[in-house]
């Protein structure tokens, strides 16, 4: 007799008691944050694919950026980067607040994060309108716009998530120290957007 699958804790009598207790309220524990992290792996792979394409274009090209590409200003993107990185710490403050059951402070921190995100986007739009190359100028320009644009879309979506959390937090008792999936989801997503930007910034502006 092979009995690798049976041990004391799993035999019916012990097991049923536990199962009954668990099944009364929720069907199963909350796996949504884990799900979001798994999904972000996939999101991250889109960016990795685009980064790899960028690096290959760059490696194959004789000169990079191709000759005639106007110089880029570093000051504005630098400030923008600092704002986005800082916002990651701000949003974490919000998360800490909700874990202490302080919804008012959660609202403040999330509002600040959303404003910082909006400033980042505004800075991005300002930079686009002042650059001396367009989408089709050359390969560098095309990759620059598509990569930053695709990331900008993610920032937009992140801001929408944060605004969604703010909206829901207006309802009394929606978020608490025990129940704050939305807050955590928005935070994880925001960190992701932030990390992607750091890589993007290094690739497009610094290297």
């Amino acid at each position: 007799m092979q009995i690798p699958t049976i041990d004391e804790s799993k035999t019916a009598l012990n097991y049923h008691g536990a199962a009954e207790a668990a099944s009364h309220h929720e069907a199963h524990p909350d796996h949504r944050i884990f799900g979001i992290i798994v999904f972000l792996v996939a999101e991250g792979m889109i960016f990795l694919g685009l980064f790899a394409a960028y690096l290959t274009f760059r490696a194959v090209a004789p000169v990079w950026p191709p000759e005639g590409t106007p110089e880029r200003e570093l000051l504005l993107p630098g400030i923008n980067t600092a704002i986005l990185i800082a916002s990651s710490f701000v949003i974490h403050k919000g998360d800490t607040a909700v874990k202490n059951n302080n919804v008012a402070s959660l609202r403040t921190w999330f509002l600040i994060t959303a404003i910082m995100g909006a400033i980042f986007l505004a800075g991005q739009v300002y930079e686009y309108s002042h650059l001396e190359f367009g989408l089709k100028t050359n390969l560098y320009a095309s990759t620059f716009y598509v990569l930053t644009g695709f990331h900008g879309m993610h920032v937009c979506f992140g801001i929408l998530l944060i605004l969604g959390v703010l909206w829901r937090s207006l309802k009394q008792g929606h978020y608490s120290s025990k129940n704050h999936f939305g807050v955590e989801a928005a935070e994880v997503y925001w960190h992701f957007v932030d990390i992607v930007w750091i890589v993007l910034f290094l690739l497009l502006y610094i290297l």
Partner: protein, 561 residues
Amino acid sequence: MTQLQVTDSANLGNTAETNTGGDWRKYFGFSTDHKVIGIQYLVTTFVFYLIGGALAAAVRTELATPDSDFVSRELYNSFFTIHATIMIFLWIVPAGTGGFGNYLIPLMIGAKDMAFPKLNAVAFWMIPPGGILLLSSFFVGAAGSGWTSYPPLSLINGQAGEFIWILSVLLLGTSSILGAVNFLVTLLKMRLPGMGLHQMPLFCWAMLSVSALVLVSTPVLAGALILLSFDLVAGTAFFNPTGGGDPVVYQHMFWFYSHPAVYIMILPMFGMISDILPVHARKPIFGYRAIAYSSLAISFLGLIVWAHHMFTSGTPAWLRMFFMIATMVIAIPTGIKVFSWLATIWGGKLDLNSAMLFGMGFVSMFVIGGLSGIMLASVPVDIHVHDTYFVVAHLHYVLFGGSVFGLYAGLYHWFPKMTGRMVNETWGRIHFALTLIGFNLCFLPMHKLGLEGMPRRVAEYDPKFAGLNLMATVGAYILAVSTIPFVINAVWSWMYGPKASANPWKALTLEWMTSSPPPVENFHEEPILWTGPYDYGIDFEEEGEEKSVEELLAEVKVDVG
């Protein structure tokens, strides 16, 4: 230990009250029940399979004679392009992962549903629009640059059709990613207490490997298609050499997904076969861990061999060497599986029903495809036969002889569980015979055609190839006919077939420990893991004694203590 008796009596007491089964309308709505979604996937994708098959029949009709005399050359290009796109993105991938994955995973691991049921339904409901979108492109001139959509050809070949193709594939890819998130979380987090990873049925191991592969590779295809659509619509030049771009970068990104895609299309079937063969051979699976880990190995190795599709794309020699060796290494985990399956059925008490026949057909046809795969992995051979019918023969032995045979095996094996009815075995065997004959008649000659230099994707050919092409066309028609007995059998059995018991095959995995079809939330009582998934023939049924559940439980406790 008398597992079967116990689980039967413990779990099926109140079958009648919950087993309502009847309401067919739920299959047309937004259901969050993983079993409904699984069947929705299977039926929808099968309809697309028939459409893709009709396109293949049209392609073979054109190729029955050397001249281009059936459809225009442009339409021929669209036919084989859409044929491949449907078969990959609307049949094999969603049927193997979405269909069987959804239906079986929660049942096999004793869960009530998937981790995210709503997300699951959303993923399914992306499939029909994706498919309809793709087919609608025929009204504006469907994409005709092959399912690979290589630029610069795809950029100059009819913008509207190509753009619709991209949108459709992006939609279907998103569906596949959302499905994979669900599978991975469900498999890792929702197993029955007491079921470790090593007590999972091998199908679950396969799905674990597939989901990881989907999550890592599919997004890169999305990236490639986003860039391609910019080239197509906005006039950038990422992949267009005339604007300074590099078409080879597209090929790298495309194959970074599309080589793993062949494992996304075959690993679920590997898993299903590993679960089907032991049941009908009444023997434990040979080398459980070897099969489980080889799935993981395949999925890892699958990620680092993509450039074997690009041996003729100017890939430097040292790189070709690397990809050649890495590709050949994949033969090892695959070979381990094949030997394990053979050892499993060796000396078994085979029940040659339709499921088993297709299972064995799968193993033998897949081996042929695997062997030609090793030939193609070798750079000198590949350069010789690149873009010839040898490649067409190889990929159909893997994807039809492998994947489709595997899907049929799974359909026959789990049909009683899904519908609560038995399928007619005689017609199942006729279906198998017709499929096997038609398949080999159609694709075996293509090896020779390819070695003699007949190029793929061209509507006309040298008259000296006429004989073998006619043979292939006849085979294709037999294949088309072979689906008729299957469809009639399946529909008839679903409505009027004899009622299936909970466990008609006397199988040991958990999906058979509940009624057929299972109730909503799957199990009447929390299932208990009494046995490993493959403990067939081990101390099987002591004759002539009936014990109550309590007595058996006491016995187990003594065993453990």
